[in-house]
Symmetry: C2
Subunit: 465 residues, 2 copies
């Protein structure tokens, strides 16, 4: 195992997700993406708390908990990494969800140590963390077999300083709170190389009743999630969405699967999929006392919830891209008129992951050759894309939103003249949008990515000189 | 179409493969990789010539031809890009090989303009180039229906200045030569962002006779070939291997397919597959007069040839990685004890393409967490890799070749103590080697990659400031 003392000083972000210090110096300030909300914006019946228990050297918040005050344990669903090297908390959360039949008492999250590649000791530590919280929560939760889910992010190959966690949890339970500041502290406890806490809230109407949703996530590097339901268990992007809507567990999992494909699984920073990626969604039904849970059979309500969850998850996922290591640009790659969502999504990801495209965006260069190239090598069945039907354009975004698009390629042929001056203006914005029309169907997909900058190399190159 | 005047000045490598100037300033000097050979090292019966016809602004060589003096047109096979946007020369060479039943009169190569995404005009220009050379070569070639193959590399979306090519070809035919300098000039005519000409030669024994092989290739960026036989036609890496061994066309194609998977298709610089990638192999049988052609039925000779071709192709392919844009490291990723070559190759490519791994190599950091992470997210059937059986080590290379390996991970568990001081010494070499043992079979694959440096971002970021 790498010794923390040396590791902390010398290993780069993948091994030092717990040491934000190295990062914040190098990255541009992103604090304008922080939003604070009033108390009524947060879902009812959820209580949270966070503290610095001693994992992070910086002294920053590194441990957080959440509990639901409802009599009926909250419905819970998860989407986790498909990396075959899955961290101990991923395994434990999967078992807890199956044992609790899709219900949970709450969760514990820690940053600074990923508890990944830690063998049996790692599993014991994850269980100890979970059990410590569960035993301090009202018995009814445990009675339903519902336990406390666990999430970890930080250094790989190191064991959790377990006593620091178990010693701190009782104090956290005593200070459980539903105030906006408590939620923001929980968001900070998720942070590793993140430069700002990622929290969003939304209120919408479901079945004639007003319900609320709050979401927190973290992640800046090693971001290219490919998550799936916990059976089979697989996903260092961490995210949680808590709502006071009442959704039955199976329906909640189904809605999450739909949402994740259109949000967290549609973002990329560096194309690297982590061992810890986990997104949880909790629905405690506390919006109105004794609210019956919605199932997939309640078509109208379920579809409304599914779409709200997907668009909210996309909003959260985009925050991760905005905070991408060294990122100076936020780029939406939209593929339209595709034969299917999957093909549209694969083509968009092929472009979004292209190092040549990402460096061109950094250089503010309308390099359609690289876009077309990446479309052309997408791993999809031969004949799916007809080169003579593909059109590419830049859609002005940011301050220029609404302006006419800049056409680069039409039906596989380059535009006779490209206005380089206008391209420079469009590409000078922080927000960029590329539209790729395959002219081969009616499905579409959006993928969000950032540019590839000198800062990315600096952050991850770990100079020894 | 982008105007050359502006494009030349401002667009980065993918659009300016014809303008080496922008590159050479930024990249480290790689001239120690240039090898010159005596006349007897080159295969008999091949004649070459190169010139500056006016495509490259720099005045560098940009047009080259090759012809075989043999009565029987040389057997020819090709492996080309699978990018759906395939350049005109890729289409034309494919048709010529099918029309000529695997035989060719010779080839024309130009650099500075890729003749890609150029529609019908592009096809007409590729045919005009081919026909101009064929008509100037001995009639017997044409009589066999064997034409002149074409290869182009350079700016995308621009038409060839066709008259400059057709006007220059007669002069080239007059100065066809077999001298070492002529071969080196041909290699230079292939160059775009390359910093050095890539030429290698080899002599070996086949069926008791001494035969020779010469190889030329080019490429520095947009390198992640995935080539296949010309039916269906599909590859900006360009390469040609000419041998005076006598191999029948079908056997030559079969040997090339085998060789390309173990060489050009096993290298990556930036994970981007070009629209022009093409590798040709020509076998004219001129080693000994009237040499009968080897078919796959001649098992012993065919296997010998196939293995020689594969190892020679790998040597050529590695030159491209050594010249990778901004590359400061040459990294071999070797996967052993895999269930199959394909799985070993996929796992090796997953690591070789990881931006986090490549930046770690640039930073000279023994970051096993990133290696393991990339192994874990390889897109292979679930259960193929058992995390508890995977071992990872650095094999000292370069000046340190032969020293004991540095173990990082054994059977999925990190080594208790990693000697960071020794890691720094091993990683300070230009040549690095990572060995990943899957413990799940007996197949293996080697993939060659380079690091991800600040220079890569500078070269491809096209500063406007």
């Amino acid at each position: 195992m790498l010794r923390l003392s040396t590791a902390a000083a010398r290993l780069p972000s993948a091994l030092t997700r717990g040491f934000a210090s190295t990062r914040s110096v190098l990255a541009p300030n992103k604090d304008h993406h922080i939003i604070t909300y009033p108390a009524e914006a947060f879902p009812k019946g959820f209580y949270v708390a966070a503290t610095h228990c001693g994992i992070k050297k910086s002294g920053a918040l590194d441990l957080g908990i959440l509990a639901s005050s409802t009599e009926r344990p909250t419905a819970a669903a998860a989407s986790m990494t498909r990396n075959v090297f899955k961290a101990a908390p991923v395994t434990v959360t999967t078992e807890l969800l199956s044992k609790g039949k899709g219900r949970a008492a709450g969760f514990v999250v820690n940053s600074g140590c990923a508890n990944a590649v830690t063998g049996k000791q790692g599993l014991d530590n994850a269980w100890a963390t979970s059990n410590t919280l569960t035993q301090l929560l009202p018995k009814h939760a445990d009675a339903h077999g519902a336990g406390s889910l666990v999430m970890s992010t930080g250094v790989i190959g190191q064991n959790l300083p377990i006593n620091k966690l178990t010693d701190a949890i009782p104090g956290l339970v005593k200070k459980l709170d539903s105030a906006p500041d408590a939620w923001m502290d929980l968001a900070r406890a998720f942070m590793t190389t993140d430069t700002f806490p990622k929290l969003r809230a939304r209120t919408f109407t479901l079945g004639g009743r007003e319900v609320r949703m709050v979401g927190i996530d973290k992640g800046a590097g090693m971001i290219a999630p490919k998550m799936g339901p916990p059976q089979p268990p697989h996903a260092t992007l961490l995210g949680v969405i808590a709502t006071d809507a009442a959704i039955e567990p199976a329906a909640l999992q189904s809605a999450l699967n739909y949402a994740v494909d259109r949000s967290f699984n549609s973002i990329t920073v560096d194309g690297d999929m982590s061992t810890n990626d986990t997104v949880l969604v909790l629905a405690n039904g506390a919006a109105v006392p004794d609210l019956p849970e919605i199932s997939e059979a309640n078509t109208t309500e379920f579809d409304t919830f599914k779409e709200e969850l997907a668009s909210f998850a996309a909003e959260l996922a985009q925050l991760v891209v905005r905070d991408g290591e060294g990122a100076t640009k936020f780029v939406e790659v939209k593929v339209t008129n595709a034969p299917s969502f999957d093909i549209a999504n694969k083509v968009a990801k092929s472009v979004a992951n292209s190092a040549l495209f990402k460096t061109a965006m950094y250089g503010q260069d309308a390099n359609w050759g690289r876009i077309l190239c990446a479309v052309g090598y997408t791993d999809i069945p031969e004949g799916t894309v007809d080169p003579t039907k593909v059109s590419v354009q830049f859609i002005p975004a940011g301050k220029l939103k609404g302006e006419a698009p800049l056409r680069l390629l039409k039906n596989g042929e380059p535009e006779p003249e490209i206005d380089e001056a206008r391209a420079s203006v469009i590409l000078a914005e922080e927000d960029l949008e590329v539209l790729i029309d395959l002219g081969a169907g009616s499905a579409e997909s959006k993928v969000w990515t950032c540019d590839f900058s000198h800062e990315y190399v600096t952050i991850n190159g770990d100079y020894r000189s």
